[in-house]
């Protein structure tokens, strides 16, 4: 190899070396795009496993589930988790436009989570003042974590699923510090319930 060739090798080594040495300082200036940013919402059964979810419920009995949220947004986040109660005709959230259910929230959790961390809480619920008459049923009171709510929710007999179908809906909302508003995060889980006994 000629001297000019060696010179090019030295120049290349010099440039690569300078870039490597400057990389810690460059990392402080250049912000590379991170991975996908999202929040997760999950529901577990009474044994903290994805099994044995309550389905057939009797009035006056307590049932428990675990609800959890995972933050993968790249920074801490402030969440509001709404618990809503509906029947088979009440509309669920629509994932395509990202709109929440029009049902009014009954119960709510508020908490913040650091990035890459999870939050989990047990939730106990029971129905009371319930009635079944022919093809009609009604739950008048729903108790969530020892707080009693008047729901007065009727449900017709669903011959397809052979149930008096009720739904316990969990909707995740997040606080946006840019707009200073809490908005629906387009994440929900739904627990289907069948009223079997009025207690």
């Amino acid at each position: 190899m000629k001297l000019e060739g060696y010179k090019l090798v030295f120049v290349a080594v010099g440039l690569i070396g300078v870039l490597l040495i400057a990389s810690p300082a460059l990392a402080g200036v250049i912000r590379l795009p991170g991975g996908e940013q999202f929040s997760e919402l999950y529901l577990l059964g009474p044994d903290n496993m994805a099994a044995n979810y309550p389905f057939n419920i009797a009035a006056g009995q307590n049932y428990s589930v675990y609800v959890g949220v995972g933050n993968h947004l790249g920074s801490s986040a402030y969440y509001v988790l709404y618990v809503k109660f509906g029947n088979q005709t009440d509309q669920m959230p629509n994932a395509t436009p990202g709109t929440p259910s029009i049902l009014q929230p009954l119960y709510e959790y508020r908490f913040s989570i650091q990035d890459s961390m999870n939050w989990e809480s047990p939730l106990t619920f029971s129905a009371s003042n319930a009635s079944i008459s022919g093809n009609n049923s009604q739950i008048n009171t729903l108790q969530i974590n020892d707080v009693a709510f008047n729901v007065d929710k009727p449900a017709m007999w669903d011959s397809n699923s052979t149930t008096f179908k009720y739904q316990l809906l969990f909707e995740l909302w997040t606080y946006n510090s840019q707009s200073s508003a809490i908005s629906y995060n387009n994440r929900y889980v739904n627990l289907s319930l069948n009223l079997t006994k009025t207690g």
Binding site: V13, I21, P24, A25, S75, Y78, Y109, R110, S112
Partner: protein, 168 residues
Amino acid sequence: MVSRCKLSSVSLLAILALSICFLNVYPAVAQADQTASKLQVASSAVEHAFSAVLDAEKAGANVTSLLDQYNGAADLLAQAENAYRTGDNHTAVNDADAALPIAQQVTTAAQPAQESASTSAQTAFWTTVAFTVEAAIVFVLVLFLVWRRFKRSYINSLSDAKPEVNSQ
């Protein structure tokens, strides 16, 4: 005369009944409005506190303890909202009132944490830049010296290999 008296007394009774209704209903409405207003104030304070914590975190502060404290306020606000939905205005007001000072404490504590983290981050950045510049200069100098030595030895090896010309 008698009918006029009757009319007056009926009117008086009607006004009295309306007043009683108004007096009975109004305190309940006023109380609900007051509770809603307290919840709104607490909610704004909690949101403001979170923004302050987030700013501190973006500046590089460790916000673990601040978020623990913050979650206390957020939980009280949630309990207040839950109580309000059941019509328990007394609990709602108490919980909202309890959440407010905690949120304000978090906001107050987050601001110096953010300033301190910003200062530390700036110092760390400029220290890194200074070390980088120094290290780069040393590296280039060493490489230059190596290059000079290499070049000399290369030329020498070429000179040694060149056949000598003998004068006659």
